[in-house]
Homo-oligomer: 470 residues x 2
């Protein structure tokens, strides 16, 4: 059988695959990209971008609830045409997808992209759906992930919505349960609720939004729970209600709804790859065992990038992983790179944030915790959005910043400034020497940092904490 010979084959043409390609092509390598699906990245198609558009619409509509505080009249007569709203979300989505494509696959030279799927025949040999064989010196797997739907729910599939379907909805259901209250469940659940859907949120865990700090989680459950009921600690079971709709039961609670929004996480697209033929070690989830600093699978010629690896399923991390995999696949140097400070943002209102080390992984003996409630924060009061809590963590002895969890308006920005600080290994005392303007939400962080500073041993070596001698 004839074999096409390439130096690098990239399986998947989403964010990770495109970033891989960005390092392989400039190196002058003979490369092929294999992807039989829709191009244009999970992020732009069904992820970060359209969800943020829906969130913005929902937030603008929801904002009417504070109007009467300051003499803004007529809010009660506002109404949202959800059909138009969903069209708007799709229009924005299409714009973002087009932009990704016009920057990438639209300009691919002939032969670079094979519009099929591929599986392994041998560690260096792939076969596409049509039977074309490709022998590659190195292979980068960037086939991404898809929403999880438990097999037990197959009979209800027509009434189950995931992010793959949500943005295609002509109009919103009148009622829905959201099962799984991680990032996606909270973002879409809150948006649907604010757009008029009768939403119930369910999670079998007792935590939401990826939080591990019990105090922040308690705040988050309370705050999000003011928007729609949240049932925690019991798994959801589906059954058919007498009226033909879906009955969802979780522990002692049950509700009958039109639709189920399943946000139980995403599973890597590995099955069709026939990884057994790749001769690589798989972990218990069926994912090749790889090094997150080189993206290499064992000492094989295979690399992972993006959601396929089940770790850090975020656009900017997929970008880094693609670049690392691409550089190493192109050069064979297998250079190890330092990964960025972890950063997770739930774009709910208020934002839910986890930066650096999460609370659960820190040693309570050696960790100091500073906290600040959002209630009295001036700018939050001015924004009429002053519910929340910031908790910041540092090493007790050295004062070095370790991480933070929080729920607060404008949390996305505090997350960045903290992540940058942690990546630079700054101490809490260092941060107190930075400028904090007034009145800004950064002052809430400042207050949490002062509290933290009082609990660490390492103090600034200056007579005024906030200023260094010249």
């Amino acid at each position: 059988m004839e074999e096409r010979q390439v130096e690098v084959a990239i399986l998947g043409c989403g964010s990770a695959g495109l970033n891989t390609l960005s390092k392989v092509r400039p190196a002058g390598k003979n490369v092929v990209v294999i992807d039989g699906g829709e191009l244009g990245t999970t992020c732009a198609r069904v992820g970060c971008m359209p969800s943020k558009a829906a969130i913005q619409v929902a937030e603008d509509f929801h904002r009417r609830e504070v109007y009467s505080r300051f003499g803004l009249e007529g809010g009660e007569s506002l109404s949202l045409d959800t059909k138009e709203a969903m069209e708007y979300v799709r229009d924005l989505r299409d714009n973002f997808v087009d932009r990704v494509l016009s920057n990438s696959s639209d300009n691919f030279p002939e032969g670079l992209l094979i519009d099929e799927y591929a599986k392994f025949i041998e560690p260096n040999l792939l076969e596409t759906t049509s039977g074309q064989r490709i022998r590659a010196e190195r292979i980068v797997i960037a086939t991404g992930s898809r929403p999880i739907i438990p097999d037990a729910w197959n009979e209800f599939r027509d009434d189950i919505i995931t992010t793959d379907e949500f943005f295609e909805l002509e109009t919103l259901p009148s009622s829905a349960v959201v099962i799984g209250l991680g990032v996606i469940g909270l973002e879409i659940g809150q948006s649907m609720s604010r757009m008029g859907v009768d939403v119930t949120g369910i999670d079998m865990a007792n935590t939401i939004g990826g939080l591990t700090d019990p105090e922040v989680n308690e705040q988050a459950v309370t705050i999000m729970g003011k928007g729609f009921p949240i049932w925690l600690g019991a798994a959801a079971e589906l059954s058919r209600a007498e009226d033909g709709r879906i009955k969802v039961t979780a522990g002692d609670n049950s509700v009958v709804v039109d639709k189920v929004f399943a946000s139980l996480g995403r599973t890597p697209n590995v099955e069709s790859l026939d990884l057994a033929a790749a001769g690589v070690e798989l972990n218990d989830r069926g994912i090749p065992v790889y090094n997150p600093n080189t993206m290499q699978v064992g000492d094989s010629p295979i690399y992972l990038a993006g959601d396929i690896d089940g770790d850090r399923p975020l656009l900017h991390e997929a970008g880094d992983e693609g670049k690392i995999a691409g550089y190493n696949a192109a050069t064979g140097s297998n250079t190890a790179f330092k990964r960025k400070t972890p950063l997770n943002i739930v774009f709910s209102d208020p934002n839910i944030i986890q930066v650096g080390a999460c609370f659960a992984e820190l040693d309570p003996e050696t960790t100091a915790v500073g906290s600040m409630m959002i209630a009295p924060v001036g700018r939050a009061l001015i924004m009429a959005n002053n519910r929340g809590l910031i908790r910041v963590y540092a090493d007790k002895a050295s004062g070095k910043m370790l991480g933070a969890e929080m729920i607060t308006v404008r949390g996305e920005h505090l997350a960045h400034i903290l992540a940058w600080s942690i990546q630079q290994e700054l101490t809490v005392g260092d941060l107190l020497q930075m400028p904090f303007y007034h009145p800004v939400m950064e002052e809430a962080l400042q207050a949490a940092l002062y509290d933290l500073y009082s609990k660490v041993e390492k103090k600034n070596d200056t007579p005024i904490t906030e200023l260094r001698p010249l």
Copy 2:
């Protein structure tokens, strides 16, 4: 005449005076605070806090203009009861003022505060309005500033509003000119315009919002000018119109309005201090010549803190100056402290920002400039607020970040992350190695930084720009 003897006297009990006191009292010094006016800081009373409340109300009302894009119906029937809005602003203001007072002067021990004004008799001797004499080893002047109104406008005083009067207005005028388009003029001008006042903005300069970068200024004038007409480059003159209102003329333009909002800047409160008796050198504005790192006036026992010095009239800077003056007045050590990276935020919508070195003070020969228009930025599109421009400056040879000017939504947060980065002397290449989430406004900054990186000589010493080898 009997003289009260103290170690430190503080003239003025606003933000700067209170911060001064925070360093003098714990040092166990015998101290007196002299202030015959309203306590509770310019910031909370007539500055940052109430202005942000007015801005928030105006922004919420203005937001109706984008509703129709996404099916939010009924926006045209929203109306703002400006009387109620102003009451709301005052309520918030009173809350903030009370909080400042309850944290400070409400708990002053007997005799700490003298509720009078004071003037110098000799360098170490003060006399209060009632004739009480106070001999102080060291004196901190923190008497603040007040809005400028030209003498030529005295006959129109009843129709001129400054920040001292604005927040006391029962209701808003139907028309106003705003004279002086710095921070305050733009913030209040835009707010009034959005709350329904027929506003015209005038500045004798050709720049607004403190911008010095001509490209950012051009954007700012265009964007702000979509809200209300802006006349630049000619000084405003007032005269009485036939109908009894005020005619404002600037160059070839003129308009008849109900009120004039004067935002020509603030002048230090120095006159009543009788500084001639203090035996200190004054600059051409009548302000004692002082060292901004020690806050000491020459080698005298006198220190300045806050708006009195005419430099950096910002709450957080007044805090730093108060702490420096307080520490040095308490100890007499006259330690020099490093001042924070300059940071100026106009809380207009979008925000107008100046961080670090401003464009005008940079040498075009040795400075690289990166820029990013806000128009195509994903998150800005999602927020339906995508007009603006970011310009970032670095040293061409070393890549060290120097400053930025910009107009953009969420600019206040980009300002902080940039100011912190500049203060740490990071290079543009360092910044590109920090995490940028998606989709956030920090990505607009990232795009500007990539542009800047392409123009500096110093590149990151790593095979992947964004990642360091482990």
